[in-house]
Symmetry: C2
């Protein structure tokens, strides 16, 4: 390879500059064909007035190189500063968070010496879209949004990843026994896509059991794919039991851009002391080398690093009298890795990223276009019932409203409170009034948006305080909404 690949580099805050320098020194010594362009992001930039933590000229470099190697960032408290990671993920469409979790026993103590799993976490959807509304004095809501393209993209990525990296199994985690529509979609698409990869095993676990098994039997997992919130939780569980928060790197991958970083923070308390462990960022850089199609260099660097680890050359964070031979600082550790370039580990399994097999994984979510017949058949009208009008009285009022829509059920927090409620003391202050074009869910007729508007006018005239609406649809005749508990 003669043309160097331009990459954008951000040194970051705290220990960032030291560990980035150590990492770049190793990459240079390994003759990585990269041309770093340094940008400034993070604390200084925040304090200059960029609430996103990233100045305009940095964007320009990012959009050109499409690859970012990033040191840890300190987000200043208060002042409306936004997490740079969230900004980058969202605006650059980095839909996949890829987090390898590997045991390095006995050098890093863990009860599970054979963990070698990869968590692939959806990065753009779920509750983390952060769409929240306060609806009454007492009630707050957050929207969990899941889309078919979002699910397809991350799940296909997981299988492509498994294929390219010679992994045997992909496990899906969801809570589809409770969230039958949102998590149900994720599980269903997982099954659809798994069928296209017959050589890769697949299974599904409910998230509560799945998390418990990651905590207690992590060695049974290979590739794990899951939704944003669950992925956040299991990533921390896996990192903790592996015991290697200081050693792990992570990638955030989009179709047009990718970012690589250590999973640890900027550790300002030890900054500038030449004692920080650069391994997390170095492992992220190895992921980056594979991504930019320099697998031989990735192999060279990872093997030298593994050899350094098993030779007992350790920074203070993993130093132990039993397994360490030499306690070194950041720069000396980098020098030790450089010294071992070309060597292979004997205790650990050597890395061997095969040339040619690691082209960039691109996954688009709209390959499977659904075009179902969508029909508007009703509406859920939510009210702030601060006067605590009893459900039966509310129903009697609402029955006066004419039109093609009929009041079917009133519910509170998903629980039916009218008709035929057996609940002695329902929570009345937040009610959902469900109107359908027919009582019988099999006989639903199409209505018009104007029917809903008339209904809403009626609520208004009755002095009822509408806080939100959710339209009810059928898709190819299938109900596009859940029934209230007891409905």
């Amino acid at each position: 390879m003669s043309i160097k690949t331009p990459i954008t580099v951000a040194y970051g805050d705290g220990i960032g500059p030291e560990i980035m320098q150590a990492t770049l020194d190793i990459l240079q010594a390994a003759d990585a064909q990269i041309k770093p362009e340094v940008i400034e992001v993070g604390e200084k930039v925040y304090l200059q007035g960029y609430t996103s933590g990233i100045p305009d000229q940095a964007w320009e470099s990012l959009k050109r190189t499409k690859v970012l190697l990033k040191g840890p960032i300190t987000t200043p408290q208060g002042g409306g500063y936004k997490s740079l990671n969230v900004t980058l993920r969202k605006t650059l469409g980095l839909f996949a968070n890829v987090r390898p979790c590997v045991s390095y026993a006995p050098y890093v103590p863990t009860q599970f010496p054979h963990i070698d799993l990869v968590i692939i976490r959806e990065n753009e959807e779920d509750l983390y879209a952060g769409i929240e509304h306060r609806q009454t004095d007492e009630v707050y809501q957050c929207l969990k949004i899941i889309s078919r393209p979002g699910c397809e993209q991350i799940i296909r990525y997981a299988f492509e990843y498994a294929q390219k990296f010679n992994r045997k199994k992909v496990t899906c985690l969801s809570k589809d026994n409770i969230m039958k529509m949102t998590d149900g979609l994720f599980h269903r698409i997982f099954n659809e896509i798994a069928a296209q990869y017959p050589d890769i095993e697949h299974d599904h676990l409910i998230i509560d059991i799945g998390t418990a098994l990651i905590a207690s039997q992590p060695e049974r997992f290979d590739v794990v794919v899951t939704l944003n919130l669950y992925g956040d939780i299991i990533s921390d569980v896996a990192a903790q039991i592996v015991g290697s928060v200081g050693l792990a790197g992570s990638a955030n991958i989009g179709n047009r851009m990718a970012m690589f970083e250590a999973i640890h923070g900027s550790a300002p308390d030890i900054a500038g002391k030449n004692i920080a462990n650069p391994s997390g960022l170095l492992n992220a850089a190895v992921q980056m080398l594979v991504h930019i199609n320099q697998p031989e260099t990735a192999t060279l660097v990872e093997n030298a690093w593994l050899k350094t680890l098993e030779d007992g050359v350790h920074t203070g964070d993993i130093y132990s009298s039993t397994y360490s031979k030499q306690k070194v600082g950041t720069q000396a550790f980098a020098a030790a890795v450089i010294e071992r370039l070309g060597q292979t580990p004997s205790h650990f399994k050597p890395a061997n990223y095969r040339p040619g097999a690691y082209a960039k994984i691109e996954c688009y979510g709209d390959q499977y276009q659904t075009h179902s017949k969508k029909e508007l058949v009703g509406v859920d009208i939510f009210i702030d019932n601060s006067a605590e009008i009893p459900a039966a009285q509310l129903a009697a009022k609402l029955k006066q409203l004419g039109g093609p829509l009929e009041l079917i059920v009133i519910s509170s927090r998903g629980l039916k409170i009218w008709p035929d409620s057996t609940i002695d003391f329902p929570y009345l202050r937040h009610c959902c009034c469900r109107f359908q074009s027919s009582k019988d869910s099999k006989q639903l007729k199409t209505i018009h948006h104007t029917d809903i508007l008339k209904l809403l006018s009626g609520f208004n005239e009755l002095g009822l305080d509408v806080i939100k609406t959710e339209n009810l649809y059928t898709f190819d005749g299938q109900l596009g909404f859940t029934l209230a508990q007891g409905q």
Copy 2:
């Protein structure tokens, strides 16, 4: 105590009848002052056509005794059968799931021999309200609903529990760094209520780190209080690492009703063989005895059970050649416990539920009434933009609509896509159009519901497919909604 307390008893399915009989035999031998009324719930009842799994006459007993001791249930697959537990929790207002997790090392192998924590999980709200809507061909939504009374109730319960059971610390888990309004409310109320219990320590952890610590350092936790979904996940993690899924009981507590059960399932594969371990249900029964104010009997039973365990009299599920002396069946195990009534354990800390200190905990969530000034200041109108009209074009159309409301931002999955978007390929098919009475969030004026209706008519006339609305309010001048990423 001379008057026997009536309790409702459901034997349940699978191993339910055997372990319930063993439990009741022990309670009787301990002279528990209870008068069991047997009801039939579960598989047989489902198959008789009760989709809720519980017949009407059973309700009658429950509502009278207000206490249910319940064996495990088999919910038949398919056929629209609803989980009996969910039905009971929701219709009886059982807002608190109380799950003690205790190590019984070395008799039950665990890497953590000193776990003694209690998880108190909110049971009625959160995503588990199960309110889901499919909004477009591709997009599904689930509502996460959190209320102030719901939070107050569970958090106060946790502190009352800690006080009565001599616990030292309550830890709150939430994800309020991301969900600042919903989880933020939970955390804020936790701080409010913690201040009323100065003798009890309190702290808060983000759920991802909290789950990782429960998995890796469970011995640092005492009482843990959290939201429904998180509680579900950490309950499984804790049960798994404690290694005692077969030994743990659980309570579901409401202000007017309580249910006690083992945490394991009905294990149909070993039903009727007299080999099942009745300890989970027995521990649930101990919780019940405390609840109905028979602490001496609870102490007697728990100590006899602990003594049996440390004497090495074990059922097959926990039998080991190292720590067991005698392998027994269900009935023989019950007989061994009965034999030891009056004895106290020496390896384990003896139970000692003090008389008088365990009155029923009642917690109502409406002690703190908020009456803020709520003003309607805008609306989020969500559309199914299946034609993928670009955001700028959409904005130009919407600008034509007059009225006191101004288009401020268009977002997709929480991410700003108009104006001044830096995103190259936004997801356009699901858009949120935010209208406010002023661009400046500090200058918001009150609008009327009719203004929103006019706007919705306008959308309709433009041929835009509205799928839902979320009104925007201020409460005492504070914004009741989050800003889109980049807004």
